[in-house]
Each structure stands twice: as C-alpha cells, then as structure tokens.
C-alpha cells in the first residue's frame, strides 16, 4: 500500500531497464536490416525521428496508435493481477467493435449525446461477454483461460467478416467488404483537427481507474491476494470465482472499448482489417510494464513509436512492415524466455 523510497526506486529502475532493453533491441534489429539492405541506419533514424517528433501530425499519429495499445494493455494487466493470462484482447477488441457497429447501424436516428454513450456501453459489453466466455470456462475448471482467450481471437474476426460480407455489407461499396458508413452522430469526436480521438479519454480513464482500484481499494487488495496466493485467498473467504468472472468481463470490456473507438472514430464503419494486432502488442506492453499503470503508458509510447518507425521505413527506405511484426515477436520471446528461466531457477 504505502511504498517506501527503495521499493519505488527498484520499480522505477526495473521499468527503465525494460524500456532501455526494448529500445536497444528495436534499434539494433532495424539497423541490422537497414545495413543488410544497403541503407545507412543512422540517416534513416534521423529521418524518422524528425518526422515523428518534428511536426504535429507525426506526433498525433503516435497518440492515435497509443490509444488501443493502452486499452488492450489494461485488458491484459487486470486479469494478470489475479493470476489469469488474457491473451485475447485482440478478439475482445473485434467483438467490442462488432456490437458497437450493431448499435450504430440499428439506431441511426438517435442524437449523438445519447448514441455515443450507448455505443460505448455496447462496445464494452461486446468485448466483456467475449472475455466472459473464457472466464466461465476457467471458473468451471474446464479450459485454461490462456488457451481459450487465444483461440477466441481466431473466431472474433471471422464473425466480423461474416457480417461485413453478409448482412451488413455496404450497398455503395459492394466490391469491398465493409459495413455502411456510420451516421455523423455515431462518430466519436476527435481533437485538434487530427485523428486523435475521444478514445484517449477512455484509455487514460481506464488507466487511472485501474491504478486507483489496485492500490486504494479493498477490491484491489482482494485481487492482489488472489494473485499472490489463491489457496490462502480461498481459505480466507475471498470469492475467487466471482472475481474471475467480474475481472474477465471488465478486462474484455476495456479491450472492447478499443474496438468501439476504432470503428467509431478512425474507420467510421466496420471493416475486416480493424486492428494490426493491437491486442497482441497490448499484451506485450502489459507484460513489459509489469502491470503498472505508468509502465503501460511508457511502453505503449515505445511500441507506438516502433510501429511508426516501421511505417516510415517502409515508405522512405522500402523496408517491409513485416519487420515490425518480426521484431515484436522477438521481443515477446525474449521476455517470456527470461521469465520462465527465472521461475525455473527459483
């Protein structure tokens, strides 16, 4: 609860180490590839950094990428506190987008101040119910939540595809599978004439709430007890099953918000390629951040930067974007590897 200076310092330095590690790994891998392609990595880096930080547009695009990363990272961090591994934020994001779309298409006549809160709620419920499937299976001790959330990731985009190829297919753009465009009242507002949207408020609010609940409330204490020693928690009368179900629902809901924001603010309609793997990167962010709220912000920033760099390198240097995916997979392996080695040594 109350942290002394030494613990705080240890946390901060661990996070700084993680940050430095990821940065170094990213820069190193990119540099190697650029050298192999016969380009000058230093020049490419200076180019991209001036592009990202040198003008408002570059930076706003970074923020746009951070929004779904922060939300899906919370979706992974929350269950992690009670010892559950939710790798299903990607699928939960899709289902949040799907249910929000259903609302936007069904109720086009509502005014924005009614419709947007409603769509937010639908996005939350869509992602939440999707995660709750895994929560129920886990609570009944039928399927491990890591497996079920992972597999549900494959189903959710297929459901979305079914609807945009079938019932919701837009008549105007019949050649391209997507839903009709949302009415203006269903569009989440954006700020400063950029693509930075109201989802930023959802993300920051989720992070603050996450931090407050974990450190300041009885609920957070119970959750940390379950995560720290489920056997003792059960013996002390903490309702573990109720926590599993509630936490999974809320975590999925937060990921669902990311999906809702993507369709209502960025796309303006439901499309099949809704997320370039935000849910997976969010999981990585949460692990590297050690589930700390401040760490999630810094790591989201870093990963948003990495994917921006990938974009820019693709345009200016002709390096395929797949490099970014390779890089993130490598980081994930290293992180997971280091963790399991640690646990074996213990």
């Amino acid at each position: 609860m109350r942290l002394d200076g030494a613990t705080l310092w240890a946390c901060a330095s661990a996070r700084a180490k993680g940050f430095a590690f990821v940065t170094a790994a990213a820069l190193g891998v990119f540099a190697t590839l650029l050298v192999a392609a016969g380009k000058d990595p230093l020049e490419a880096y200076i180019d991209t950094l001036t592009y990202v930080f040198g003008n408002a547009y570059g930076f706003s695009e970074l923020l746009v990428r951070m929004i779904p990363l922060m939300l899906t990272a919370v979706a992974a961090a929350l269950p992690a506190r009670i010892g559950l591994i939710n790798v299903g934020a990607e699928g939960q994001l899709y289902m949040g987008a799907w249910l929000a779309t259903a609302g936007a298409l069904a109720l086009p006549d509502l005014p924005a101040f009614v419709l947007l809160p409603l769509l937010t709620l639908l996005g939350f419920v869509g992602g939440g119910l999707w995660a709750l499937v895994a929560g129920v299976l886990r609570a009944l001790r039928l399927v491990n939540e890591t497996i079920s959330t992972l597999l549900l990731n494959y189903i959710a985009p297929l459901i979305v595809s079914y609807f945009i190829f079938g019932p919701w297919r837009s008549p105007e753009t019949a050649s391209y599978p997507q839903s009709p465009a949302f009415v203006e009242a269903a569009r989440l507002p954006t700020f400063f004439h950029s693509r930075v949207h109201f989802g930023l408020v959802y993300a920051l609010a989720s992070l603050v709430l996450y931090w407050l609940v974990m450190t300041r409330t009885r609920i957070g204490l119970d959750m940390r007890a379950i995560g720290g020693n489920p056997e003792a928690a059960q013996r002390l009368g903490i309702p573990i099953i109720r926590y599993i179900l509630t936490v999974m629902f809320i975590a999925g809901g937060v990921a669902g918000l990311a999906g809702m924001a993507e369709v209502t603010a960025i796309q303006g309609r439901l499309v099949s390629e809704l997320s370039p793997g935000y849910g997976f990167i969010g999981f990585l962010v949460s692990w590297l951040a050690g589930s700390s709220a401040a760490g999630i912000v810094t790591m989201s920033f870093l990963f948003a930067l990495i994917s921006s760099v990938g974009d820019i390198l693709q345009i200016t240097q002709g390096v395929p974007y797949a490099v970014v995916n390779i890089l993130m997979a490598v980081i994930l392996f290293i992180v997971l590897g280091r963790h399991s080695v640690g646990s074996v040594a213990r």
Partner: protein, 514 residues
C-alpha cells in the same frame, strides 16, 4: 576433532553461509562418525536444514572446508554428495508417485545400465529390506504407499545407491508413534552397520531416545555437542534457547470475558464427502463440539484431517449429512459466511495457507475480515491498526513491522500474525489444523497455551494434530481419524500412546484390548 583419534566419516570446518545480510550458518567444527546417530537439535530457523543442505550439496557455502573420510572434498551438487556416499531424506519425499517402488529405487542408482538389471536390484532390495526392517512391496505404486512406507523406500534407495551417511530431516513428523519406533529400530541397525546418521529434529524426546551425540544449534551456530549419556533435558533447553528464559504468554484468563459454556458450537450428523482428486473421502462422520471444550483429532496424516478441517471451514461441502454451526444448518455456507459467524482458522504453513507472501503484514491482517474494516471502497486502516495492536498486545506478541512483506518473516512470526488476525475478533470456534507444525518449542508452547486460554474464555476449539503429546496435553476429548472415518473416541483417562496409537493405523479397538 574426535576424541578417539579415529577419522570421522564427515567433517566440516569453518562453514559460513549467508543469505543476503543474514548469516544462516557459521560453523567452526561439525563432525559425524561412522556408527553413530548424531542428533541435530535446535528451534526453527536455527540453521539445521541449511547445514544439512550444504552437506548434501544443495547450497554451496560461502567459506569453509568439508572432509569425507579425512579427504578434503567439494560438494557442489547432490550428485557429488551421493558419489561421496552422503544420502538425504527430505521432509517432503522425492518419490515419483506414478512409478513402482522398484522403479523409484532403480532410478536412483548410480550409472544405471540401459537395460535395468532387475533381478540383481531386486535381490539387493530384498537383502537390505530384511536386514534393516525396510520391507515394502517392490511392485506397489509409490503414490499409493502409506507415508511411513514411502519413507522406508526413501531410505532404501539411498542405501542401495551406496550411502554411508544418511541425513534425515524431521523424519518423525509424518509418522504414528509406533511407526517412529520402527524408524528408530532401523536407525539402530544402520548404526550397527557402521553408517553415520544425522537426525534433524526439534523434539527433545526423540533425541534422548535414539541419539548417541547431540549437536545443538542456535542462530546458525553449533553451540554445543553433548554426549547422550551426559545430556539433561534442562541443559539442552538452555543450549537451544540461550540465556533467554522460556517465556510463556501471560495468562489471558479474564473472568469478565467468559462466555456461556456448553453451547453446541459444531455438530456433524453422518457427514460424508467424496473429495476431489488426491483427497481422502470422509465417511459417515458424526461428532459434536461444545463451547469451552477442546476436541483433538488424532491420526496419521493423509487420513482425512485436512478434508475434515476444510469441511468445517466451508471449503468443502458435504455430499451427504448435515453440518450445523450453533444449531443452524451450515452445510452450504460459503467460507466467508462461516468466518463471519465467528469461526477462525489457524492452519500449519501460514505462508502457503493463510498469508499472501507478496503483500505487507498490514494487508495480510485485513484479509479474511469480510466487510469489517471496509470504508467505502477502501479500507479503514486506522481502525484495523488499532484492533490489531490490541490483539498483539493481548496475546503478548511484539508488534511487527506492518510495512514489511509477509515473505520476509520467519515461520514463527508469520504464525503470530495469523494468530493475532484470527483471534482479534473473539472467535467462537477455532479450527486449528496442525497449528504447531514447523514451529520451534517456544512458539509451540505459546500456541498450545493460547488454545487452552481461548477454551477457558468459552471458545470451542477443534485441534487437528499428528503430535500425540500435543493432543494429550491440550485436548478434553480425542477422536481418532482413520481412512476418513472416526475410528474411536477417547477421554483423558485413556490418553496413552499404546491405546491411541494402534487405532491410528487401523487396528480395531477390540483386538487391541485383547
């Protein structure tokens, strides 16, 4: 430094082992001779297990030399130790439950050929088993053996692997009295065969019963080595605890705080439970427990004690029968509801069963209190602190550092935290599951005195224990649990090991009386 001038089997000099700032071992000289049983005596945290693990190669010492048969050796791993003829039997057995006794023994042999020489190993097993009273069916699955037999297999596999020195870590903890006698006979045979035996224990009685020499440890040092013939109980206690006198908690008896006696706190009517995987099913248990009485539950571990305690605490539900708490049908109550009614639980191994290691002491103190300290969404820490300070003071415990992580506390201190938390709300029923297991002598006496005091204040106490001495000392009535059923009930005039012991391993009352 052997008086006779002979070379000791094993000698350790100048051993130092640190864990961070803590000096766990600082041993100038420690030796084990062939043909002796050396008892390593000391309270919990005195460093006995650390020393044993250094000798078995589990830990590498920071300084010091080890000699085996006079030759200096380096023991970097248990493999090295085994090659030097040092074997260890751990508290938690290391058998592979799915394999047969034979497989377990064969697997442990050095340089086992690709084609297992079954006949040869079987023959050697039979020979050793006969000579050292270690007979076990080689084709039984290890997981299905009784605890005492598993221990025999552990010893057998060490002997077949050529152990000349055996370290046994608290071997009698899991045994019924007559099984302990059997173990001591085995040890006597091994000693006659010239093996050196190190017996780690904190039970004085065992030490005096079977050791040749007694090495007493305190704060990581060997503070004295006493010949058994010259050993006196008081001297050993003085060595174990140093200058500090044995302190008992102040009497809590407060006549004003007495509750009414004779209220039926707990009643089980023909309760059965199937239990999950690896659990012992309970069979047709009927019993009553009144306020102001301590009922002891005796039995060899694994006969349904944990399931019995879990059933009362609401962790398990009866499949048949009724559980009544203060006259109300509590068969379906949740753990939280049971605790809310005034049931407290004091388990063994507080770190595993009653505390969350990663949380602070203060956070651990609020766990399990239901809504009592809730303030809105948060916790009323000030009220909690006040209540817990009062509880610590009343129990005569020093007030711990509330900011420390539970994982950093010793077992005895953790058990104090658990006791302070569980007894803070004046519980009406206390379920104590092996509450003194793993505690040192002083903490043990403290816990027993507390249970009696709570009884005198009108609480009903259920004491589940493997330690017959403890049960005899504390209980007002004693039930024996065998294979998940109540085998017998005893009153204090029959509290004798020779009467209770046989029932713990399944003898019937009649055949014993005859």
């Amino acid at each position: 430094m052997t008086a006779e001038g002979e070379t000791p089997l094993l000698e350790a000099k100048g051993i130092v082992k640190r864990f961070g700032a803590l000096v766990a071992n600082e041993i100038s000289d420690f030796s084990v001779r062939g043909g002796e049983v050396l008892a390593l005596l000391g309270e919990n945290g005195a460093g006995k297990s650390t020393l044993a693990k250094i000798l078995y190669g589990y830990y590498t010492p920071d300084a010091g030399e080890i000699f085996v048969n006079g030759r200096q050796v380096e023991i970097a791993s248990p493999r090295d130790a085994r090659a030097l003829g040092i074997g260890m039997v751990f508290q938690n057995f290391t058998l592979i439950p799915a394999l047969s006794v034979f497989d377990n023994v064969a697997l442990f042999q050095k340089n086992l050929p690709a084609v297992v020489p079954r006949a040869e190993i079987l023959e050697r097993m039979r020979r050793y088993a006969g000579r050292f009273r270690l007979a076990v069916d080689p084709w039984m699955q290890a997981g299905q053996l009784a605890v005492g037999d598993q221990q025999k297999v552990e010893i057998l596999k060490q002997l077949l692997a050529g152990a000349r020195m055996l370290i046994l870590d608290e071997p009698t903890k899991v045994l019924a009295p007559q099984e302990s006698e059997g173990l001591f006979e085995t040890l006597a045979e091994l000693r006659a065969e010239g093996l050196g035996i190190v017996l780690i224990t904190h039970k004085l009685r065992e030490v005096l019963a079977c050791a040749d020499r007694i090495a007493v440890m305190r704060h990581g040092r060997v503070v004295g080595v006493v010949d058994r013939r010259e050993a006196k109980e008081e001297d050993l206690l003085a060595l174990m605890f140093g200058d500090k006198p044995m302190q008992l908690p102040p009497p809590l008896l407060d006549p004003a705080g007495r509750h009414d006696r004779g209220i039926r706190a707990l009643e089980l009517v023909d309760v059965s439970s199937s239990g999950g995987a690896g659990q012992t099913p309970l069979r047709n248990i009927s019993m009553k427990l009144q306020s102001g009485e301590i009922v002891g539950i005796a039995g060899v571990s694994g006969n349904g004690q944990r399931e019995f305690g879990d059933l009362i605490l609401g962790l398990q539900r009866p499949d048949a029968g009724i559980k009544l708490l203060w006259g109300e049908d509590a068969s379906r109550w949740s753990v939280a509801a049971v605790r809310d009614k005034g049931v407290a639980s004091v388990p063994d191994d507080p770190l595993a069963l009653a505390c969350v290691p990663g949380l602070t002491v203060r956070e651990n103190l609020v766990l399990g209190s239901g809504e009592r300290y809730s303030a809105g969404l948060g916790v009323d820490w000030r009220r909690l602190d006040a209540d817990m300070n009062r509880s610590f003071a009343r129990l005569g415990f020093p007030r711990p550092n509330l900011e420390a992580r539970a994982a950093t506390l010793s077992g005895g201190n953790l058990q104090r935290i658990v006791l302070a938390r569980e007894l803070a709300q004046q519980p009406r029923l206390i379920v104590a599951l092996y509450p003194t297991r793993g505690l040192d002598a002083r903490s043990t006496m403290m816990v027993r005195a507390l249970l009696r005091d709570m009884r005198d204040r009108g609480a009903a106490v259920l004491l589940i224990s493997e330690d017959l001495d403890e049960l005899f000392e504390v209980s007002d009535r004693l039930l024996v649990l065998f294979h998940g059923a109540i085998a017998a009930e005893f009153t204090p005039e029959d509290f004798r090991a020779d009467l209770v012991g046989p029932l713990m391993v399944g003898a019937t009352e009649q055949s014993d009386a005859a």
